[in-house]
């Protein structure tokens, strides 16, 4: 059978690949040679992404829970029940008794429809998705400082960088085709790599400087860098004067962040800090890469704003191979934000609080009274489910039991839920709590678009039919809307949904399926003849002038103490994806990383009499898990690191649901834990 060009389902690199099938099922995945990101290569997950779709344990029919057991049901019955229940809750308790969790794995069209369903049909802004758990800090922080919360430059530009500063990103594990470009730039073109990360990530071996800061002290070292840049006169005065505002307040605040003070707070030796500042500031093509290590903190927004300050003070904005580059994790988390699956924003980051915006959407959607008050965020929705203020929750393509912080709390809340709908491709830990389970199509079984981390809107193209009665998410959402009597959610094909998105969303204004062959367009693309935008903020920032937003260092929410004396951080491994529902059904990936483990420093282990590969208990104030040790010096003394993929020893049983006050993102990267031998 001919190969179908599509986009990878896993990370935000957005690699182009071909899926092959035998007519019925997928039989292979191959890289696209001409795609600008893959260029003939893929990572191990991309090469093996053909496998999970075929697993015989796919959800194939709707299921309704009757007397505690799941029973097969017809679509009519399942959707009828959902409409019934949701209408009942809305009529009795108001629209905000409902909530919707959209999915960063599904398409732009599907995310748009989820928020349209929540807003136009059910009149609630309680719609959110997992960006809340990963880059909400970026969306808020960069929108405030630059006017646009997305990666400023493009993936291929890493190859020409002179200096790359990576903080809070294990790039070769999470974004392999970006991490590879960093390796090539360093090894073949003499680029200088700076890594600022408590862990000795793979890339650290190529770094000219690897600074291992204490978890959660990022605002301090970033302010420290700016302090040095100002005191050594390495700032870009012209850029600051012409392109920014608020410099004086920044200068004032960073005065106290001397290298000596920063060393006390962060443990980064002052000579290293000064050296980093000099290397970064003196180069012209200097790029910042950051990810969860910066965003997943109670000070996530402050961390992001500080990085923005750093880039602006050195004029590293607005041309090729510079900028502030948050690496978006999911294949379509950028798109889910772009299309408005957020409680306070419509698509294109247009505020629900803005009356003119509401009127525009009301006209397009043929409804009145779109809600003006921002809704609840992911962790708030879960808690509301537990205390009964949200009665009905609709979850699409998301597994909060494994991915949300404080799993025991999540399970308790889900257990108390009045009515839960879960729409997914496999029966997940979350789906077990559902009252109705709906089977959806995988990425290989539908058309649509994803938006990658470099703002590239690209197509996925259907290669095979979904199994049995499974349907594409967009069709299911339309069916729900129709059951509710809403007439304006009826499309023949996802391209029509994209046309609607383009009509309402200025940054996607010029995007249509006809223009996306073969490899997509990078937004902003405001008009039909606009070629797309590789570099943001070229002549001016999206908000006009870049705003310096100086922030003071605030320590993490749960410091270590005598009892819980280890700092626990969580993260990812190269082989698995998030809650592992797809990668554990992929033979090669599962074999390479079959079980949970905790990284511990060799000296700590020795002092406690713990060996390599020994099963120990790790506990926090939230819960306990048992798992094998992996010793070494990847983590410093007093630290632990646990990948969160493994449901058998779920790291999020231990993590704390303390959130950033503005972005509401949980502090996955810091909490206090203790270990016990069994």
């Amino acid at each position: 059978m001919p190969r179908v060009l599509t986009t990878c389902i896993y990370c935000g690199c957005g690699c182009g690949l071909y899926l092959v099938s035998d007519g019925k099922r997928l039989t292979g995945a191959y890289p696209s040679k001409n795609h600008p990101v893959s260029r003939g290569a893929l990572c191990v997950k991309g090469w093996n992404c053909y496998e999970f779709s075929n697993d015989l344990n796919r959800l194939t029919t709707p299921l309704i829970k009757k007397s505690g057991k799941f029973v097969q049901a017809s679509w009519d019955e399942a959707l009828g029940l959902i409409a019934d229940k949701f209408c009942g809750f809305r009529d009795k308790f108001g629209p905000d008794a409902l909530a919707f969790l959209s999915s960063a794995k599904t398409t732009n069209e599907e995310n748009f429809l989820m928020m349209k369903l929540a807003r136009a049909v059910f009149k609630t802004n309680n719609v959110d998705h997992c960006a809340r758990l990963c880059h909400a800090s970026t969306v808020v922080g960069l929108a405030a400082t630059f006017g646009s919360g997305a990666m400023t430059n493009s993936i291929n530009e890493f190859e020409d960088a002179e200096v790359i500063l990576i903080t809070g990103s294990d790039t070769t594990a999470q974004h392999p085709l970006i991490g590879s470009r960093v390796v090539n730039a360093v090894k073949d073109r003499g680029a200088k790599l700076i890594v600022i990360d408590p862990r000795a990530i793979e890339l650290a071996k190529y770094a000219v400087i690897h600074a291992r800061q204490r978890n959660g002290t990022d605002v301090a070292w970033i302010n420290g860098l700016i302090n040095v840049i100002i005191s050594e006169n390495l700032l870009d005065k012209k850029f600051i004067e012409e392109r920014t505002e608020g410099f004086e307040s920044l200068k004032d605040l960073v005065k106290e962040y001397t290298p000596e003070y920063v060393e006390k707070v962060t443990s980064i030796p002052k000579e290293k800090l000064v050296e980093i500042a000099r290397i970064y500031a003196k180069a012209r093509k200097a790029m910042i890469i950051y990810s969860m290590g910066i965003t997943q903190h109670t000070t996530g927004v402050d961390n992001v704003k500080s990085l923005a300050n750093l880039a602006m003070v050195t004029g590293h904005i607005g041309f090729a191979s510079c900028g502030v580059n948050p690496l978006r994790g999911q294949n379509n988390v950028q798109g889910s934000c772009d299309t408005g699956a957020l409680p306070n924003l419509f698509s294109g980051y247009q505020a629900v609080a803005d009356e003119a915006v509401r009127k525009k959407f009301e006209a397009a959607w043929d409804v009145q009274g779109l809600p003006a008050k921002p809704g609840l965020t992911v962790t708030e929705i879960i808690s509301a489910l537990g205390n009964g203020s949200v009665k009905g929750l609709y979850i699409m393509g998301e597994n909060p039991v494994i991915s949300d912080p404080d799993s025991n709390h999540v399970k308790e809340c889900l257990g108390k839920a009045e009515f839960l709908v879960v729409q997914d491709i496999f029966m997940t830990d979350t789906a077990e709590y559902a009252d109705v389970v709906l089977p959806s199509a995988s990425f290989a079984e539908k058309d649509g678009t994803f938006t990658s981390t470099e703002r590239r809107v690209e197509k996925i193209r259907k290669a095979v039919e979904p199994p049995a009665e499974a349907k594409p998410d967009w069709q299911i959402l339309c069916d729900v809307a129709k059951k509710m009597g809403y007439k304006r959610m009826d499309y023949n094909h996802p391209s029509e949904i994209m046309d609607e998105i383009a009509g309402l969303t200025p940054i996607y204004g010029g995007i249509s399926y006809g223009r996306l062959d073969p490899y997509g367009i990078q937004w902003p693309c405001p008009a039909k003849d606009h070629p797309g935008t590789p570099v943001l903020h070229k002549e001016k920032f999206t908000r006009g002038k870049g705003a310096f937003m100086p922030r003071p260092y605030i320590p993490p929410a749960e410091p270590v103490d005598e009892e819980y004396n280890f700092v626990l951080s969580t993260g990812r491994v190269y082989w698995h994806w998030h809650t592992r529902t797809m990668t554990n059904r992929t033979s090669t990936l599962e074999r390479e990383s079959p079980e949970a483990y905790v990284e511990m420093n060799t000296e700590d282990a020795k002092a406690l009499g713990i060996r390599e590969n020994q099963i120990i208990k790790v506990s926090s104030r939230r819960g306990t898990i048992s798992l094998k040790t992996r010793l070494g010096d990847k983590v410093v003394k007093g630290s632990l690191f646990i990948p969160f993929h493994f449901r058998e020893a779920a790291a999020n049983v231990l993590t704390i649901c303390a959130v950033d006050p503005i972005a509401k993102i949980p502090e996955y990267k810091v909490c206090a834990a203790k270990v016990e031998k069994i």
Partner: protein, 351 residues
């Protein structure tokens, strides 16, 4: 053997006719410009459209033709309630436009699947097969080094027909009885050669060989690697650290035939499947106890080079590397066999 030519403009008609009897495979351009060696559709369904996208002039295909006989994922048998149903595929296949390096890969894989245990799933696929090689006038990839590996740009044997491109026609070399029969069968397309066949073929072939810029001392590499005491640990360590373990080099390599076997099952029914595996993965040699004789990265990275340049040669009499350069072009961190050979034979650090 009659000396024949076929005009380029008649190829598509020839393929169309042949498609009535064979599953025809040819290089075709897909969306985005990528070229794949894959099946043309059966007659009556999209055949004309597929023929339009056939590319015969030096296309760079991402992988070789290996997945025709050895798919990336295949079901060996399905089982249901104690009954087993095997899946054997043995349709007649005409491969049109195989590159000489890829032919070498096919022959190498044939030998592998016959050695020790006869793999019926692979062998039934190749049972009824006709191969037409088209030599390369210039390298499809900058990473090609077939002249060094002595596998191209034209094949010496192993084909049924080999086409030598010359102006607007192909000079046809027959390599087997089947090849001769094919020419007879489709004689309306195969005309007498209007020029001095031998001379023209020689000229085209040597010009083509001269156009391969990348040259490495392949023989020296084989000699070095063949020495028991030769273990370039420093090179392996650098490669092992740089490698991101994507598997691309193995997946794209025409002679890599390692596979993993696993079950996809639900309750009492399911299927036993196999898919492409690779020696650079840690799990490849991990034993049940958890012990791994090749745990360190450099030991795993070294496997690939030892396989291709040492053990294949010992076992099969020919090197596993066909000089196609695909390992390099499918590698996100620019590691490749040609570079390894250069490193060990020229004693320098490239990767």
């Amino acid at each position: 053997m009659k000396i024949k030519i076929i005009e380029k403009k008649n190829i598509k008609d020839l393929l169309k006719e042949a498609a009535a009897e064979w599953n025809v495979y040819a290089p075709q351009r897909n969306l985005g410009g990528d070229v794949w060696f894959e099946a043309l559709s059966k007659p009556g369904t999209d055949l004309d459209k597929a023929l339009e996208s056939v590319v015969l002039e030096g296309p760079d295909t991402v992988i070789s033709a290996k997945d025709i006989f050895f798919p990336q994922l295949e079901t060996l048998f399905s089982f249901n309630d104690g009954k087993i149903h095997e899946k054997i595929e043995s349709s007649p296949k005409l491969l049109f436009g195989v590159r000489p390096c890829d032919l070498k890969g096919i022959l190498f894989a044939d030998a592998f699947f016959k050695r020790n245990l006869e793999d019926k799933y692979y062998l039934s696929r190749v049972e009824n097969r006709f191969i037409v090689v088209i030599g390369c006038l210039k390298p499809p990839r900058s990473s090609c080094f077939c002249t060094s590996a002595m596998t191209g740009p034209f094949a010496k044997e192993g084909f049924d027909l080999q086409l030598v491109e010359y102006k607007d026609l192909y000079l046809v070399e027959t390599g087997s009885q089947s090849g001769e029969e094919f020419i007879l069968k489709f004689k309306k397309y195969f005309k007498d050669c209007p020029c001095d066949f031998e001379k023209t073929v020689d000229e085209v072939k040597s010009r083509a060989a001269g156009s391969v810029e990348l040259k490495v001392d392949f023989q020296k590499a084989l000699e070095l690697m063949g020495q028991e005491s030769f273990i370039p640990e420093e090179n392996y360590k650098r490669i092992g650290e740089r490698c991101i373990y994507c598997g691309g080099c193995l997946y794209a390599c025409p002679t890599c035939t390692c596979f993993n076997v696993f079950d996809n099952s639900k309750d009492k029914s399911g299927e036993r499947m196999r898919n492409w595996d690779g020696c650079v993965y840690e799990g490849y040699t991990r034993e049940t106890s958890g012990h791994n004789p090749r745990k360190d990265k450099w030991q795993r990275a070294s496997r690939r080079y030892e396989h291709k340049l040492k053990y294949d040669y010992k076992q099969a009499g020919s090197s596993g590397c066909v000089g196609c350069g695909r390992c390099l072009t499918s590698c996100p961190v620019d590691i490749g066999m040609s570079k390894f050979i250069q490193e060990i034979t020229e004693k320098r650090k490239i990767m």
